[in-house]
Amino acid sequence: MRARAGERWRARLVRLPPLIWLTAFFLVPFLITLKISLSDAATAMPPYLPVLDWQGGREGWASFLEALDFENYAVLWFDTFYRDAALSSLAYAGTASLVLVLFGTPLAYALARAPARLQTLLVALVVVPFWTSFLVRVYAWIAILKPEGLLNAGLLRLGLIARPLEILNTPAAVLIGLVYAYLPFMVLPLYAVMSRLDGSLREAAADLGAGPVRAFWSVTLPLAAPGIAAGALLCFIPMVGEFVIPDLLGGSDTLMLGRVLWSEFFSNRDWPLASAVAVLLLLIVIGPVLLFRGAGREAAR
């Protein structure tokens, strides 16, 4: 009996470090952000009100809580600018996720089907871009996409176009940047799932008369679906809040929540509104996660 109690304590102890980690680095910062989003902007240090007066006792708390309101969320709701930014972010992230699935699935399948000796090398090639700074790689895309850049020079030289294409500072450039930057996050989980698929299932499909196309659609793809969903989610979530790519590759009118958040914080010094945008971003992203978990539980059953 005592031994079992001890074991239970040890089990609880094991759960403690991640709990502390999540509390310190996720829950507490989130609560602070939530609190700021309920405050009002002020020309002060810190640039918002109210600030809790720890010496004020019960009355201090009361006046602090009284000063909190949902004003900033009302702004987000009624000002179409923020609504458009949210919808546009979702559209960019959704489109890019779709393109990633379309590109990443065949790529991961090819990786998983490659000869074993080649696979390590090919997977390394997918990961190699991480050795360079993300910022440098996005700047490189400016050099490629700009009117006198590599892509246009090459297409002009080949005579495929008469005038340089206008790509940089358009939504297309943002999509190219998103797909490029997040492709490894799509391919690696998908590759992990596909390389673990039992090869004899594919052979069984062929044995029963299914050509490569039918075997892929009816066996490989359904079994890889959890990997595809995981990869798409892994990309979608950070893409919704992406700041660097739309800022560098998109035009000044590119509307994405990450950029809006940045300008509220640093240009307008409106921390409360920026915090409200951050909370909104979190709520947008939590939706698909819950959906995915629900689907996972369904599949497990």
Binding site: S200, E203, L208, A210, A215, S218, V219
Partner: protein
């Protein structure tokens, strides 16, 4: 059966089929003819090339040399999904995301819907899984999964079914029951089977003919009784069951297709070797333990002729008594007899052992 199969044209014919992985030949110039309605077992230890040969016939691998013909059709170079052959996989390879009935229906995609449903119902009834049509494979027992795999492989009514270690995943009691079911099913459907197995007992229970494989070659083909009683090599003799190999020198020929062999503790007779051997060559006499009979070692009138030996060990095994005997030169011979004689010839007893000359085979040493 043998007479009818030899008369008709072969269903499957392999000629000089060779497959190399790297430098080594996994399958080395194999010739094989399989008749309609025949169950053929490829028997051998792991790594002998039997699974590769099966995969070559199924079309998962393509041969580096040789041809594979089914009836009048040349299958060589044809991918698996174009071959009118089906396979039951060792791990069953059931599609985990499909129900039992969708698994069975997978090979029937080209049939009209109504026909497909009727065929699936027939197949499920055949393997007694009508009540499991909507279950997922992972909710079934091993034996049920094996039957789903069998129904799925038979759905397209193949003329030839390949079975890769069909019963190794089942426990012993279920295996014997399934073996006889499989055989009954084959007789009813008149489909030819090629079964790959490492288990000689499985081969004996299932097969009309067995091909023993070693290092990518089929070293001997024959009915199981023939392989058991008249192995062509020490390898085949040992693979099919327990065997005594008594070393000696080849003596002169004797009438009745027999031949004398001089061993350390005397002289014995055995069936003439098939291999090209001459008098004085080193040979072994292969004889199964159950063929070795024991008699008392008595001098005088009516004494048992045979080789003198001493019982070194006697073990009661329920259905038989196993004895280890030592010959004069110290070499050991195993004899197994019916349990009735349990009390006779205890350890230490002097005996004479003998066996019918026809039950012993002379093999190259």
């Amino acid at each position: 059966m043998a007479a009818t199969t030899e008369a008709s044209a072969p269903l499957l014919r392999l000629a000089g089929v060779t497959k190399r992985f790297g430098g080594a030949a996994a399958v080395d110039a194999v010739d094989l003819a399989l008749a309609e309605n025949e169950v053929f077992c490829l028997l051998g230890p792991s790594g002998c090339g039997k699974s590769t040969l099966l995969r070559l016939i199924a079309g998962f691998e393509q041969p580096d040399a040789g041809t594979i013909r089914l009836g009048t059709q040349d299958l060589t170079g044809l991918p698996a999904h174009r071959r009118p052959i089906n396979m039951m996989f060792q791990s069953y390879a059931l599609f985990p995301h499909m129900s039992v009935s969708r698994n069975v229906a997978y090979g029937l995609a080209d049939r009209p819907r109504a026909e497909r449903a009727a065929r699936v119902a027939d197949l499920l009834r055949m393997v007694r899984l009508e009540d499991f049509a909507d279950r997922r494979p992972d909710t079934l027992s091993g034996g049920q999964r094996q039957r789903v795999a069998l129904a799925r492989a038979l759905a397209r009514e193949p003329r030839l079914l390949l079975l890769d270690e069909p019963l190794t995943a089942l426990d012993r009691a279920l295996r014997e029951e399934t073996q006889s079911e499989l055989r009954a099913l084959q007789r009813r459907l008149r489909t030819s089977f090629i079964v790959v197995t490492h288990d000689p007992e499985e081969a004996m229970r299932l097969a009309d003919r067995v091909g023993v494989m070693a290092q990518g070659r089929i070293v001997q083909v024959g009915a199981t009784a023939e392989l058991y009683d008249r192995p062509a090599s020490r390898y085949v003799a040992g693979l099919l069951g327990d065997v005594n190999l008594i070393p000696g020198r080849l003596g002169p020929g004797e009438p009745g297709g027999l031949r004398a062999v001089e061993i350390a503790s005397g002289s014995l007779r055995a069936r003439s070797p098939a291999a090209d051997l001459s008098e004085g060559d080193a040979v072994v006499v292969a004889v199964r333990p159950e063929r070795v009979a024991l008699g008392p070692d008595q001098a005088g009138e009516g004494a048992t002729v045979g080789i003198p030996a001493t019982v070194a060990e006697r073990v009661f095994l329920g259905d038989r008594i196993a004895r280890t005997l030592h010959l004069g030169d110290g070499s050991a011979v195993r004899a197994s007899g019916p349990p009735e004689g349990a009390d006779a010839f205890p350890a230490g007893a002097r005996v004479r052992l003998r066996f019918a000359a026809e039950a012993a085979t002379i093999l190259p040493a």
